[in-house]
Symmetry: C3
């Protein structure tokens, strides 16, 4: 992989991420995050946003989307169980968010598995601004036209293999790209950062990626930098995942402990565990 420039390159080899100030801002302001997401994860992502301190709302009817977006501080679009009617709602929401200047997070679940998903994701990306694209390596590669073989909704690539695709997408669409994996990478047109947190249990829980996208929405509501909002959300996901993994006995008991951790996390614990990397 060719070297890429690092945004905000720090003096030390490890970049600093001020995740905590965003967490306190979310808890204090409780931003309203509008989610147009899939049936599988709605309960989980609503609970994750609530546990963090944000205020989730799920709505998709064309009759009310404009009014909902007038109330919202961020919009999260997730195509996990898409259909024609829901795509209409997603496009409408993305356009309304752009008009109001509020951030949009797009989760292209299963992009690459079917043309319907790939094309829907590209169209949403082309309509959204400012946008954060949050997906796994297969999904990100597929959107860039790389060999994006996706096995259903799970990635068959390492996140590092999608950095070049992410950089291309960041330039093509003017967006920030958040690639989840063993190391999470956040890239935009000018830089990148990695996050080395998380637990091996997380791929065995449905909707962890979708939850990362939902939390990215909450962070983007309080941090005007999409790049930092995305990085902070992935760092929090990873740290909460590590802490929950220590308390649970498998992917089933992981989930309630993960939500507890989002709710109870304190500054010292967060700072001690956040592990960003320039590479």
């Amino acid at each position: 992989m060719s070297p890429t420039p690092l945004l905000h390159r720090p003096a030390s080899p490890q970049p600093r991420l001020d995740v905590w100030s965003d967490v306190t801002a979310i808890r204090r302001r409780s931003p309203l995050v509008l989610n147009i997401t899939n049936f599988v994860v709605m309960n989980l992502t609503a609970n994750a946003l609530l546990a963090l301190g944000a205020s989730p709302v799920m709505a998709h009817a064309p009759e009310e989307l404009d009014e909902m977006i007038d109330l919202a501080q961020a919009v999260v679009i997730n195509i996990g169980t898409l259909s024609r009617e829901w795509i209409d709602a997603m496009e409408r929401a993305v356009v309304a968010a752009r008009r109001r200047g509020i951030p949009v997070v797009i989760d292209p679940v299963g992009s690459g598995a079917t043309r319907f998903r790939t094309e829907t994701s590209r169209r949403l990306l082309s309509l959204a601004s400012p946008a954060i694209l949050r997906g796994n390596a297969s999904e990100i590669r597929s959107l860039a036209g790389s060999n994006g073989s996706t096995k259903g909704v799970d990635s068959v690539y390492e996140s590092v293999d999608a950095i070049a695709a992410g950089q291309w997408l960041a330039k093509e669409y003017g967006c920030t790209v958040s690639i989840s994996g063993r190391t999470d990478f956040i890239v935009d047109a000018t830089g990148r950062i990695g996050i080395q947190n998380g637990s091996d249990l997380m791929p065995s829980v449905t909707g962890m990626g979708c939850t990362a996208s939902a939390l990215t929405g909450a962070f983007s509501a309080v941090n005007s930098s999409p790049f930092h909002a995305a990085a902070h959300a992935m760092a929090l996901m990873g740290v909460a995942g590590e802490l929950a993994a220590k308390k649970c006995s498998g992917p089933g008991t992981f989930v309630p402990h993960f939500l507890d951790t989002l709710h109870n996390l304190d500054e010292a614990t967060l700072i001690a565990l956040v592990n960003p990397t320039a590479n």
Copy 2:
């Protein structure tokens, strides 16, 4: 706030609520509760009804609603993720329930946030009888045309601030109104009662209000007084919430303990904790 008459005013300052006899009736008869509800909470409310001993069914196709309602002892309508097609199902169900004389619980999730929600809730209320309206203070105020500012689906008012609106709605629509909050208030055209149970964790869990509505459906299936069914359901919610809060470490572990409590609760524990108030 002007003083309001109390239904069944007791000799002592604390009214009595015989929640337990309804709980045993639900466990014994296992009433079928038809839910037309939102995608976020379907799993939770089905589990809450099962844990309590009721028999939940979720169905919304026009082709089968009449037959389902012929089997049901109560109907719960919740507009959390409404759309045109689902409203048609809700209206059809409400009309069929009225024809059969079985109780309907209406949960106007997010009423006041958008006109679509406010108007849908009012129309459902106008069609339903006997009906119990179960919402938070913002939702109840919005339906009465008060300054019903709702922030998404979460209330920005205390429940006490919605009592007058609830009383107006009770008279206007001939319904019982159950207002959830730190103190829950149940009002109808002639009286009111308050319930001081619950846990601060409950607003951090998605679908607790929706679960209250679902359980209200189960109680209304075994208690012919909508006023008492609503009060008993809120008392049980609050007591189960208190007990679960003691066993959990946050909003994630709260949910499984809450469901366990609904399933395991005994008479002595319930009676010791139920805390109604005349004010």
Copy 3:
């Protein structure tokens, strides 16, 4: 009940079930299981498939179903919250799966409660091959035209009372029939087996039957015998249920422990507990 022939009748009175070799095959191959299922259980069944080691995908748009089925190793159809549009997707998926020769599991949730459900289930059965029909006694009886009184989605019959109906369906549709209950029975045109595992808590948890169907999909993806795939899935469900019941304190804490058990189960524990019966 008249005696019925036993497939692969063993020398000993207790038949042997090699559940473990399928479990290891699922963990190793991680088969993609396409689910067109109901809103109530999507999260649970996705998590159960992931915990077992399979790769779930939920999709229902006509624009992508053929491509998804080209990627899938099994299809699970569940009519729990059916509507006209979803039935179209289910029929399309069943036909595509048949063309590709991949197994289909059909869960006729609530069949017998409404004609819409009974007729939809029969039509799906008539289109699917090879198919495993997985339901409770009321559902199975209703499909065979027996007195199939169903109370909503819960059975009012013992599984043993549906064996004759299952045998009739197996012959009529050329399918395998998996009847869940206190004893689970798997029947096909030439034999039957019973499984005596499980916990009394399971009927108090929503979606346990749907989860059995989803896991049956995973087993059918790695075992070419629908009869054995169905038997192995029910045995695993029952064993995991028994183990989870020992660790939990009610139906709420049951679920996370059930998922943990699917993830952590080892061969010795499984073999020690599996309890098949010829009768």
